[in-house]
Structures are given as structure tokens and as C-alpha cells.
Amino acid sequence: MLIEQAAYGNRWRRVSPAAKGSLALAGLLAAFVAATPATAAFVALLLALTTVLGARVPAGVYLRVAAPAVGFLALGSLSLLVAVGTDTAGHLSWGLAPDAGPRIATVAGRSLASLTALLLLVLTTPLPDLIGLLRYLRVPEVLLDLMVLCYRMLFVLAAAVRDTLTAQSARLGYASLRHGWRSLGLLVANLTVQIWQRAQALHRAALARNGGGPLRFLSPGFANAGRDTLLAAVAGAALIVLAAGLG
């Protein structure tokens, strides 16, 4: 929901997704071009500042969205500290990896820069716009249909879960652990039927509007898309050159 909130409420909401996509792609490339952890960290900082200061995504929202990914990155980096191998006697052994420090710094720096590049895109672009961009890029229809339906059904099912949970709680469904487990089972069983019924209903609704094949939609247009994409491409190229130059 935080991502949704930022994507619909930022200053770049009306900017063409192609422009934002180009900038994010350039950010990803710059992350890979960056040879030292310091350069990668600098790219990450630039991208984060662009998102917060340029697109006006609130810093609090940005940090809260980034926190789980950064936590996962930290955990992953810790696991790189450990090296598993066999000792001279052929037994399995583990210990601190000898060259762990620089390797972790490089991987973590690049991952952080890649993360900020993706955040720049997802925190400024609502998913429908993003799907529109992917459609323009000729991503297979079946993947797009799945994305559209998953995104829509996520909210429909969230509402169904909320309603059922409320109805169960109102009748003491979660008053004790035993009742809680039983209610949870009933909730899952009920949702399974609901999903099946909703799928049937959506199929029928699509047929009623002459659908039946791929789900075809048209995205709203964006003013100044060409100019914005060109600007983003220039900025992105500058970022890549800067990352390569810093080494």
C-alpha cells in the first residue's frame, strides 16, 4: 500500500513511464559499471536523492519501503562472510572467508544501487502505467494478463479477507487459539470457493464485452512523452558515464 500511495502521489505521476523506465534502466547499468563500492554507493545516493527530491516521494515512505530489501541485503552479505569448504583431511569445514570484506562491499554496493534504481521506478509509476509500458515493449500478452488480473484480484481478495475476518471476529471466531485455527481454516476454504466463483464471473463479464482471447486494454496517453524520455535518456547516459569515470 505504501508503494501504491507513493506511485499515485508523487510529482512525476504524469511523466511518461518510458522516461522513468529509461532512467531506472540507466541506474541499473550504472550499478554494474561501478567498479568500486564507493562509486556504487554514490550511484545509489544519487538515485535515492532523485526519487526523494526530484519526484518528491516522502523520505519516510522511501525508507520504509526500502527497509525490508536493505535488511535482506544485510542478511545476504553476512552469509557471504562465511566460507564452506573441505579441510586437508577431506572433512566439511566452515570459517570466515579470507577475502570477504572487499567482495561483500562490492556486491552490497551494486545491489544497493540496483535497489534504488528499481525504487525510482516503482515509487513513481503506478502499476497500470508500468503494464502499459511493458505492453508497448511487446512483453508476451499472457504475462501481462496475469499481471493485470493479479494486481486487480489482490485488492478484491484483500477486501474479501478483511470482510470475512471481521465477520468471524464479530462472532468470537478468534476468541481462543483453538477457535482461531478453526476460523482460519474456514476462511481459507471460503476464499477458495470465492476465487473459483470470481474467476467464473470475470470470464463471463469478459465474454459479455466480446472478450474471450487475450485481455486487451489501452493505457491513457502521456503529454510530452518524447521530450521526457529524451531528457531521462540523457540523464541516464550521464549517470553511466559518471559511474564509469569514477571507476
Partner: protein, 297 residues
């Protein structure tokens, strides 16, 4: 061409896979440019009938005629029917499957094979017709129930149907939203679009429709002009429907000599307008407020 039969059901029956009977020898006609209400209690077969009119269900017996020709259930025949007959379902959550308003409304016209410019123009027109032009880029899940309902109507209008079918369109809407919806339906009707709506609300059907088709237990028990409804007391009773409140009130006022027997008002606002034109009756000053309350009790 107004008044010609656009669609006709001839003794249509439908038996579901579980053996239950949805429709039982139902016959009725929908005239071009008319406003029709399918009136019946829950489970009377209204939705099943609408699904037949859009070709989503095929009769087990009987036939459906469009412009006098028997409906063709081939892929192209159904596509041609759905191009002309649009269906708005009762629950918007089960009809809207795209992420944003604009995208969802574009679904139907794209299926008609129109080019991008044509689709954009139709989406804009349809959203303007239901007062949702400002919300075009909002995600569907950010809309209220009433707004979702309007988007559903726009999604069908964008296909420019000749006949619009609406299943319980006022269900779940507050009175303000119902008035908005009525205005939209009046606009569409004024543009020559034929409308059939399913409802269990006799007051609404009497107020809005030109023609009323009564359904009970899967049977089309009667079809008559809405103006003839006050004379259909026995038929209404047999279908489990009450006389509209405005008719009952009008009769009561006629019996007390307050209003003339004709014209019969179609709605409470019309009744109030008639009362406003009638000279006020002198109140009985001998009767105290407490006496009036007692007699009311």
C-alpha cells in the same frame, strides 16, 4: 422505427446443470427505444433472463429472436449480438478486471476491433456520459461502490450498444447515487438506447419504466405498460409484489376527496406536485394533537 421489436423471447426455458429450472416458458418482447423493467422477487429468474438476452446462456427450449431473426449462437453470431446488446452485472467487483478506469473501459471497444484513436474517443465519450471523465486514470480499487458501478456502465456504453441490460442497478446505492444513476439512464434513454433493467423494487419500476415485465418462479407472468400497473393488482399479488406506495397513497387521497382520480402520479414528487396545486383542506380544529396521535395509533 420506434416501437418495433428489437428482441423477443419465445417460450424460453432454461434448465441448469444441477437440474434446477431458471426460466420456464418465458415469452416477452423488447421494443426499440423503450424503457423496460423486469420486476420480480429474488430468485425469480431476472438475472438468468438477462444472461439469455446477451447470449451468455442458451435456452434449453424456445428461441430468442433479434430483429425478427432467430439468434445465431456461433462465435460470430454471438459477437454480433454482444456488439448490439451490452450487459452491466449487479456486482461491479465481478465485472471490472483491469487495474485502471481508462483501461477497463477500453476493453470492450478494443474487442470490437477499433483502432486506437477510435477507442480513445469512445472511452472519453463513455466516461463523460457517466460523469467519470475526471477519474479516468484512477485505479479501480480506489473508487467507491457507486463509482465502480458507473465505470461498469461506461465499459458497456463504450461499445455503443442499441440495448443496455442492467442487473439490479440500484442495489447497494444510497439515494443520492440512485438519483445520479437515474439521470444517467434518462440521458441514455433520450439518446434512443433501449434499456432493460432487472429490479425487485416495484416503486422504482413504476416510477422509471415504460413497460413492466413481471417474473415469478422463472415464468414471465405478465407484460404491460407501466401506466396500466394500477389496474394489475391481482397479477402483482400473484407475483408476490405489492402495489407501489405512490399508487396506494394516491388512492387513499382520492377516497378522502383530496385529489381527483386522474391523473395517477408516477412518483412521490409527482404526487407532491399534484397536492401543491390542490387547495389546502381546512384542518379540524376540534381535534387536539394528542387525539390525532391516539387515532393514528
Amino acid at each position: 422505427m420506434a416501437g418495433e421489436l428489437l428482441l423477443e423471447l419465445q417460450a424460453v426455458s432454461h434448465v441448469f446443470a444441477d437440474g434446477s429450472r431458471g426460466l420456464d416458458g418465458c415469452s416477452l418482447g423488447i421494443r426499440r427505444g423503450s424503457r423496460n423493467a423486469l420486476l420480480g422477487a429474488n430468485g425469480s429468474g431476472k438475472t438468468t433472463l438477462l444472461l439469455h438476452l446477451n447470449g451468455l446462456l442458451q435456452p434449453s427450449a424456445g428461441s430468442i429472436r433479434v430483429d425478427g431473426c432467430t439468434l445465431d449462437y456461433s462465435r460470430s453470431g454471438l459477437a454480433a449480438l454482444r456488439r448490439r446488446v451490452g450487459l452491466v452485472f449487479q456486482n461491479p467487483e465481478r465485472q471490472l478486471f483491469s487495474a485502471s478506469v481508462f483501461e477497463d473501459v477500453s476493453f470492450g471497444p478494443l474487442n470490437l476491433g477499433l483502432d486506437e484513436t477510435g477507442v480513445r474517443a469512445r472511452v472519453a465519450q463513455a466516461l463523460a456520459a457517466v460523469g467519470m471523465a475526471e477519474q479516468a486514470e484512477r485505479p479501480v480499487h480506489h473508487l467507491s461502490f457507486g463509482q465502480k458501478k458507473r465505470v461498469c456502465i461506461a465499459g458497456v456504453l463504450a461499445m455503443q450498444p442499441e440495448l443496455l441490460l442492467l442487473d439490479e442497478p440500484t442495489a447497494g446505492l444510497d439515494s443520492g447515487m440512485q438519483e445520479d444513476l437515474l439521470r444517467i439512464l434518462d440521458d441514455l434513454s433520450a439518446r434512443g438506447i433501449s434499456i432493460v433493467l432487472a429490479t425487485h423494487d416495484v416503486d422504482f419500476a413504476y416510477r422509471w419504466a415504460d413497460h413492466i415485465h413481471l417474473l415469478a418462479g422463472g415464468r414471465c407472468s405478465a407484460s404491460f405498460a407501466a401506466s396500466e400497473l394500477p389496474q394489475q393488482a391481482a397479477t402483482l399479488r400473484a407475483a408476490g409484489q405489492a402495489m407501489p406506495a405512490v399508487v396506494q397513497l394516491h388512492r387513499s387521497l382520492v377516497a378522502r376527496g383530496v385529489l381527483p382520480a386522474a391523473p395517477v402520479p408516477g412518483s412521490i414528487p409527482q404526487l407532491l406536485a399534484l397536492l401543491a396545486e390542490t387547495p389546502a383542506v381546512e384542518p379540524n380544529l376540534d381535534e387536539t394533537p394528542s387525539a390525532r396521535q391516539r387515532s393514528a395509533a
